[in-house]
Amino acid sequence: MKRSTVKLAAIASLALAVPLLAGCVPVSKNGAGGGSSSQANSLHTPLKCTTDLSVDQLMDYKAPKAAKPYNITVMVVSLAGYYYQGLVYGAQQAAKDAGVNVKIVAGDGFTSPAPQLSQAQDVIQSKPDAIALQPVDVEGSVPIVTQANAAGIPVVSFGTELNTDKTAGQVLQDDYKLGQAGADQLAKAHPDGGEGILIAGPATATWSKKRVAGFEDRLKEKYPKFKVVASPTQAVDPAQGLKDFNDATQAHPDISWVYSVFFYQLLPDSLPGKYKDIPFVTTGYEPAAIASLESGALTTTSSVENIAFGYQAVAQSVEALNKGKDAELGNICVPAPALTKADIGTPLADFDLYPEGFSYKG
């Protein structure tokens, strides 16, 4: 067979392979891949909370005094970003209040569970008294808990749900309810409704999928005047978010609102002039978000309580250690208050900020 014929055949095969493979993947509108129906159902279900902390309870909470100076390792996904720095700050404050030693182990922002598992195996070797774990994946990070428990180390997970009942406790924020709250905030700011864009996070991230589910379910349930005309997914990258937004508005130029699952998916101040005044609702409160609230580019944001998460992660670890083996704290749910421009400088809003100049570099 002539070489040119072989090459043409190879090119044709490749050209056919892509649409064939693409057609084999069942995908939902917002980019989530095919998965089990139970997983899909759980996206649309609020968390079951053993303890549902109110805002006042959260702000007044103090870590229990440790029975002895425990060594607790806090595993965070990354140190890059105000959110993660806030987690670390909160963890260190709790350690001070409880009288324990805290060691921070951070990843480089990995999004797959395998590197986190490798890191956890190293942590287990150092035999801490407890591990406070920020899981990467609801299923994929479960082996960390199994292996830690086998080594006699209790695990308190925080931030993202973990599909296991073997943790000593889980400190969580209900992402589904966060999404619902986003819809409520949007309806309050923009009662007229209309078409809008939903900027989703990574297509495989449970936190993003649940916020999207909560938001869309709430719109369907209570606010039929609102219509989501585009819901692109992307990594937490403001440049990519802006690109996706601009592309979406080519097809839908008359949008009148934006909901973004997280502040850094799409920066409100980066929107083109035509869209600068439309209601923009998101989650996350930090200096950049404050600037957006002050400029009016951002309408409302929900607190993601990053400092409280870090604080609670260590505090609940101490609680579990004080109670001893087989401590079961259940799901401790952290609230997500809405914050607007009027809240800037209030104790509620400042609760989300760490001191200027703080920076944990590892």
Binding site: V18, Y82, Q85, A239, A251, L267, S359
Partner: protein, 344 residues
């Protein structure tokens, strides 16, 4: 800019200038055909959203940053290497520039130039590692990528830097010059013209192509191989810094994570445009078309609301197809095409 010398037979010379033209411009023609096909398909499929002046402006602004970083990558490719650290270098420039403006009150133009200069120093370091110390481009630039990823975060304290001055945002990629001409497009044009002058009209450009063509021949020809290689990577670094500044102006923050996806996209755009991996061949016109093709593809797929995963598959397939077609042609495709027409 120097082009690979077309092989023109005696018959061609007798027959048809189009054949000679096709040989010399085969790479660009085929990318241009791809661009036109995609543009036509998306325009017909989405006439109200793709084929509009607003979308052309949208694509032009998006393509500008990719063009600058692809030109940067081209310098590294032409000398027979590549630079995996361009994305991290963009983030480094973004962070430095933002810190200079917000932390030290540096005027925007000075801060931008400072950031670009710092990125050029990073490129210089790459060049020294590769050209002088003989470290492979993969290892050297991977090391730089990893180092800069951490260093940028150390500088920024792990947080994003907001509050950039409005004149920086307007003039360096996020707005327009004189409220009329998109600054991102203007900066990309400046970078393109400057690159053309260097590659096509300067001795350095000639040496860059010679080095990529054959290192040994260049050395025997008296070219200071190491100096040329260092210069190419330094230019690559400086242009990456410019792209980082533009990206920072576009989104309005400095951040150590900006630009992560541009490492491989810049290589993809350059290769699609005919820049040879291994060095010695490539045109800026091809680079431009490669950028346009990728921009049209991604914008069209976004407007079509194609799932993110499918987009990745399609982009990967397009990249492979472009390289296979480039290999299959060798100038023969365009020669055959024009010869057939000429004979008709």
């Amino acid at each position: 800019m120097s082009a690979p010398v077309p092989v023109v037979t005696a018959a061609d010379r007798r027959t048809n200038p189009l054949v000679r033209f096709g040989r010399g411009w085969g790479a660009e023609l085929q990318v241009l055909v791809g661009v036109v096909i995609l543009a036509v398909v998306f325009s017909f499929a989405f006439p109200g959203s793709f084929a509009t002046f607003g979308n052309v402006q949208n694509m032009a602004t998006q393509a500008s940053i990719l063009l600058v970083i692809t030109i940067a990558q081209t310098f590294a490719l032409l000398v027979g290497g590549f630079d995996l650290s361009v994305g991290a270098n963009m983030a480094f420039a973004s962070t430095l520039g933002a810190l200079a403006m917000t932390g030290y009150g540096t005027p925007a133009p000075l801060a931008a130039l400072f950031a670009i200069g710092a990125s050029a120093v990073v490129g210089l370091a790459n060049g020294i590692m590769i050209g002088v110390l003989g470290i492979s481009p993969f290892i050297a630039t991977l090391a730089t990528l990893t180092f800069l990823g951490g260093y940028s975060n150390v500088l920024a304290g792990g947080a994003s830097i907001a509050g950039l001055p409005s004149d920086f945002i307007a003039n360096w990629g996020g707005g327009s010059w004189g409220a009329v001409f998109p600054s991102a497009v203007g900066l990309a044009i400046i970078a393109l013209v400057a690159a053309y002058v260097v590659l096509g009209r300067s001795r350095l450009g000639l040496y860059v192509f010679s080095l990529g063509g054959s290192r040994e021949a260049a050395r025997l020809g008296g070219i200071r191989v190491r100096a040329v290689e260092v210069a190419a990577y330094t230019i690559c670094g400086g242009l990456a810094g410019l792209a980082g500044v533009m990206l920072s102006a576009r989104v309005g923050i400095g951040q150590a994570g900006l630009g992560a996806e541009y490492d491989l996209m810049s290589i993809a755009a350059a290769v699609i445009g005919g820049v040879a991996i291994g060095g010695g061949a490539g045109r800026l016109s091809g680079v431009f078309l490669g950028v346009v093709l990728l921009t049209i593809l991604s914008t069209g797929l976004n407007i079509a609301s194609v799932n993110e995963f499918i987009q990745q598959m399609i982009t990967g397939a397009v990249l492979v197809a472009a390289v296979l077609v480039a290999r299959a042609r060798g100038g023969r495709f365009s020669v055959r095409l024009f010869r057939r027409r000429a004979d008709a």
